[in-house]
């Protein structure tokens, strides 16, 4: 029954509760879809035994009438999440063989709610990348193709495996993480929904750290309702993450009325980029019209420091990464280089890190080291943190003027061919131009599929919300989703 895997989380939840389907049947359908989708390279560690155990337990819970919304729902988990006893490598050779003795808070919360883990998903190494090409497992592949052209396209990154798996119906939903756009850009590239909540909504405990002041986990799902349901289960205060917010988590799904009459939506003029494809401009314009037709008030706004978001990000994120990744030294876990006669501990560190890290990770760790080094700390790192303050203030100013949400394109292009941009780091960084401001300002942002380009590839729009107002943001996204009516699916070739 391959159709089971096409179910959305909400549909599956209702069918499970009604007794029309079992979690074991759903899980088996997903496992067999995964087995047949090796060409997508989305799942990199398979956990069928754990999945079936969890599915049987979920079925028992459902039968007993104790079934939270995520109970029995088969998911993929990004390799960045530490999962107890299961390889958790952050797609890096330096963590080869690492099996955590503990479970990340977010995955634990999902399991406590009865969710089923099918396996671990491909990603860019340490979440550093926008095309999934820096992975030690090799790249994941986008299930979409441009018309009849069989050129392999990127599923985006860093959560590329999560995006490919959900779009190809290998699982009902997946966890992602987003430091500069790593949930929203891949979601847009494969025509699914992805939300990065407000910084502090989801615990970062047990998620391999990249840039701690920017990293947030979030769900990647087939529609907005599923995003609301899954996000609900992932959020909440965690004493083990000092930056996790001790705030009540509202009923996100219950807030999906689709009524956005009287809401004010801002359109930031700085997001009109030079060289942006006409199709993206047109999509953005039609998104504006859709929200207006739904009864929202549309206002043109200015976020004057937008242009400086990417350069600030490429100081702050590498700086934090260089500090976070200092722990990979060949002593406590993962890879240790073979040493030559007479090598001491310094040679061990240097050889281990040279062998274990890929090129992009090394590049960012070294850039981070440089911007934090004596003599440059003020010129680069402190200046970037001041610019970050200004970027956040841009958003605070428009929210103070009464703007409820901001509509932008999600990405500057549709999915591009694998291998196209990997040689030019700065070109690759430009992928995050519309998403990175949201991480710098700590805001919630959601990508919603809204159309296709001339080759039939999906394109997404992004909505940015006020801090802690994910419920309101999801509702606006829901209205946009209903108006856009995006239902296209990739034709199966894998």
């Amino acid at each position: 029954m391959s159709d089971l895997t096409k179910m959305k989380i909400a549909e599956a939840r209702d069918a499970l509760r009604a007794g029309d389907v079992t979690s074991v049947a759903l899980t088996e359908a997903c496992l067999s879809a995964i087995e047949g989708a090796g060409a997508l390279n989305a799942f990199v560690h398979h956990t069928p035994e754990i999945a079936l155990d969890q599915a049987r337990a979920a079925d028992a819970r459902i039968k007993a009438g104790d079934a939270p919304a995520m109970c029995g729902i088969p998911l993929g988990i990004k390799d960045l999440f530490c999962t107890k006893g299961v390889p958790s490598q952050a797609a890096s050779n330096i963590l080869k063989g690492f099996k955590p003795e503990y479970e990340s808070t977010v995955s634990q919360q999902l399991f406590d709610a009865g969710a089923v883990m099918l396996g671990k998903l491909n990603m860019d190494e340490f979440a550093m990348g926008s095309s999934n090409e820096t992975s030690c497992y090799g790249n994941a592949v986008n299930p979409w193709r441009a018309g009849n052209d069989d050129t392999a396209l990127t599923p985006g990154g860093s959560s590329g495996g999560s995006a490919a798996a959900v779009a190809a119906d290998l699982c009902l939903g997946a966890t992602g993480t987003d430091t500069g756009g790593s949930i929203r850009q891949p979601a847009a590239f494969v025509g699914i929904t992805g939300i990065k909540p407000t910084y502090g909504r989801c615990s970062r405990w047990g998620i391999v750290a990249f840039a701690s002041s920017l990293d947030q986990a979030g769900p990647m799902t087939k529609d907005v309702r599923d995003a609301a349901i899954m996000l609900q289960a992932m959020c909440g205060h965690d004493p083990k993450d000092s930056t996790s917010a001790d705030l009540a988590v509202p009923d996100f799904e219950g807030m999906l009325t689709g009524d956005i009459r009287g809401k004010t939506i801002g359109i930031p003029r700085e997001y009109h980029m030079d060289g942006m494809p006409d199709e993206i401009e047109a999509l953005w314009g039609s998104g504006r019209q859709m929200l207006q037709d739904a009864g929202a008030r549309i206002v043109d706004i200015s976020l004057p420091h937008t242009k400086y978001a990417l350069p600030a990000y490429y100081v702050i994120a590498p700086a934090e990464a260089s500090s976070n990744l200092a722990r990979y030294d060949g002593v406590r876990y993962g890879h240790r280089a073979k040493l030559a006669q007479g090598d001491g501990i310094t040679e061990m560190y240097e050889k281990t890190r040279a062998e274990g890290f890929g090129a992009e990770v090394k590049r960012r760790v070294m850039v981070g080291t440089y911007v934090l080094s004596a003599g440059f700390y003020d010129a680069y790192y402190n200046r970037a943190r001041k610019v970050r303050t200004l970027i956040k203030k841009d958003f605070e100013d428009v929210f103070a003027q009464g703007v409820d949400a901001i509509l932008t394109p999600a990405t500057p292009s549709a999915a591009f061919p694998l291998g196209q941009e990997v040689s030019d780091p700065v070109q690759m960084y430009l992928n995050d131009v519309f998403t990175v401001t949201v991480n710098l300002a700590g805001l919630p942002g959601i990508a919603v599929p809204a159309g296709v380009d001339g080759h039939g590839l999906p394109l997404g729009l992004q909505l940015i919300g006020r801090p802690w107002e994910e419920g309101d943001l999801l509702n606006t996204a829901y209205a946009l989703e209903q108006a856009a009516g995006f239902v296209a699916k990739p034709a199966k070739w894998w």
Binding site: E101, P311, R336, D343, R353, M366, V371, K386, R388, L390
Partner: protein, 95 residues
Amino acid sequence: MSIDTETAAKVAKLARIKVEPEALPALAQEFNTILGFIEQLNEVDVEGVEPMTSVTPMRLKRRKDGVTDGDMQDKILSNAPDAREGFFAVPKVVE
């Protein structure tokens, strides 16, 4: 600001990443490309602006400074490339 091979070597050393001497010129070139991109930040007037320390205005929670967890030496050592007699083992660090 331009980075030469000597600076690139110094950064690699600080980052504890071994870079072969023949790879240094290309590395320096990459740094220059990325730093050239970052230089745009110099256009921004940051006079009197506080550097961001916390993106959401939060007061870190306080708790008693007590032991809340422990007694798991085996678990902590279970992923070590080399563990002996209850310790992490590394090459000799003192003569």
